[in-house]
Amino acid sequence: MDIPAFLDQLVIARLSILKGLGMTVSISFLAICVGTMLGIGVGLALTYGGRPLRWIVRAYTDFIRGTPVLVLVLASYYVLGTIGVDLGPFEAGVLALAVFCSSHVGEIVRGALQSIAIGQTEAAKAIGLTFPQTFFHVLGPQALRQILPAWVNTAAEMVKASTLLSIIGVSELLLRTQELISRTFLSLEFYCFAGFLYFVVNYGIERFGRYVERKTAIPS
């Protein structure tokens, strides 16, 4: 391992790496936000929807979850251009990741809502709360506490999945690392460095998640 040369090149390339990191964060952030919103809709549909709606949404999530993320990314990239939707690789990739995220979040939301004892809804009904009130004040807060750990996990998965966009040419951290390596031939050093950066981001997400969990825990 050539540390002095690596440090030299690192300083020279610092702007590129920062841009790559920024791109990775943008991809992950957008995918998580859009995916979570979609996923909440999916979860609500699976829990409270009528049978036809549940069937359609179930087919959607089963299809998405049975497909590798890379296939979703490639399909999004190639197909969207063909059917006349003019999206660049960044948009196509983020869309694919958001769809993938939504299937996981949907399952998490459904699981959390269905695990709340039916007695909670009955007690809320008994004091005269309407369904929106019940959902907002009784079911939602309880479900949220259960969703949090799994959701944080999914967010970390999205950061890792952002690397797949390098394959369709989006200039995120991994692609920039590869470009850097092709110039400097310091593959060992820079792959380790990239891995380290991803590790730090994910570990940070994990710690943040545990902090939020502790803060929102119900005293017992």
Binding site: L74, V79, I83, G84, Q178, N202
Partner: protein, 220 residues
Amino acid sequence: MGYTLNFAAVWRSFDLLLEGLALSLALAVVAILIGCAIGLATAFLLMSKSGLYRRPARLYVTIIRNTPILVLILFAYFALPQLGVRLDKFESFVLTLAIYSGAYLAEVFRAGLSSVPAGLREAGLAIGLREAQIRGAIILPLMIRNVLPSLGSTFISLFKDTSLAAAIAIPELTFEARKINVESFRVIETWIVTSLLYVATCSVLAALIRVAERRMAVPK
């Protein structure tokens, strides 16, 4: 829009897709076998009373779980040669996948081992069995029944992760699909068929695992 669905190009190359699928499955099987060995060993290390064994194991698990798998794959194929370790595409990919799955399986096995009641080991000692005999005849079979569901879902995940072999030009299913896509321009058809192949295979695998679970279940 002017795009009419025409599956002819895909059907012509369907045998290539199936070969790719077979390769994907083969890669997954070899990876999980090695991964199980690594995971089981790591699980024992994690449960050891000595920090000397526990800490490296925990470090391995934490690093692997927080690093994107694509980075690991590229590292194994492109960076390891710098350390003198020269593996061909297949070897490096399978090894990476095995090490990746080992980190997740370690947790699966650890939970499985913990769920076997400690009293059984003592009962075995009481009738005069040696530690190794107890592990082989009593603890391991029970643990296998416990971990089967998690093991199964890890294998299905691994099978989907074989799609990343396309990144280093291994001719598995996704790589073949991308070739067909680029050569035939039949974009939607290619990806629908490829997706369906993955989804169908995952469903079959899931069904097989359920059958195995039922076969191995302790009669109640």
